[in-house]
Symmetry: C2
Subunit: 141 residues, 2 copies
DNA sequence: GTCGCTGCAAAGTATTTGCATAGCC
DNA sequence: GGCTATGCAAATACTTTGCAGCGAC
């Protein structure tokens, strides 16, 4: 998504186009990879030294409503914000907490329809695998 | 799992059989439903007034290693501990945070093998759906 | 000019850790 | 009796909230 498209999206909802929001969005696009709020701030701070963590959280939450990012909660550690729009599973290392994308489709269709059958109104699905990442598996041996 | 089996399992690993552990396990079996650490403590406290939250966490973590419960992290809210041994998806309400079991199989086979193909060593999978629960969907209208 | 957004500080929530003591083995 | 698990308190990590001032529109 371009900066122009972001502007239109924000205007359409009556939200203001602030340098912080533009920059945070740009950072997500540049990273092209999930990141924690802290990591986003780190990059944003280079060009906007006074930016704050609450602002980053507010912007990410807004972007989530806009469908631009997905928030993924990883057991214990910090949540990650993923700019990939396709649903894909994530892997979280039990030992070091590292998060990695898993290259596979999501396969949540049956769960979603089962949930609807139970009277729920699901809008999203997250599949999180846990275990040991490469380096931690090696260290454990 | 019976209390006797728990004892054997603990002994086999060199862990002690304490009243707290037995009671926490019993509570999980009685509940037969996912619960937060706080909810477990609440019930345990009725019979063991001095029981503490750190002890509950320690026991739940131990039981997780023993394969007796699964920890499920729900966005933002407290983690839940699920005594069901079959993998099944969970639904978390975006608005009120309520957690509900989804009655469907897990379907993580492709994700698991993809992860292995990426050199990871997955040992578990959690599928979490988000959206609005019955009452929140009704309130939103 | 108005009103939403930001930055700062502080609060809040969930979970973990340090340490002395109790109690299982 | 030795040593692990417990209970208490405090620390930690992450995220959210309150509020005054700034700046987008």
């Amino acid at each position: 998504m371009s900066a122009t498209e972001l502007q239109e999206l924000l205007h359409a909802r009556g939200n203001r186009v602030t340098p912080q929001r533009v920059l945070i969005h740009e950072t997500l696009v540049e990273l092209d990879r999930h990141a924690t709020a802290e990591q986003v701030l780190e990059r944003v701070s280079k060009r906007l030294p006074n930016a704050s963590l609450p602002t980053v959280y507010a912007a990410l939450e807004l972007f989530e409503e806009l469908g631009l990012v997905r928030r993924v909660d990883t057991a214990g550690g910090a949540a990650i914000w993923d700019p990939r729009t396709d649903g894909h599973p994530h892997f979280v290392c039990d030992r070091c907490g590292a998060v990695e994308d898993v290259d596979a489709p999501l396969e949540a269709a049956r769960a979603l329809s089962a949930a609807r059958g139970q009277g729920l109104h699901p809008s999203g699905a997250e599949l999180v695998l846990t275990g040991l990442c490469r380096s931690c598996a090696r260290a454990a041996r």
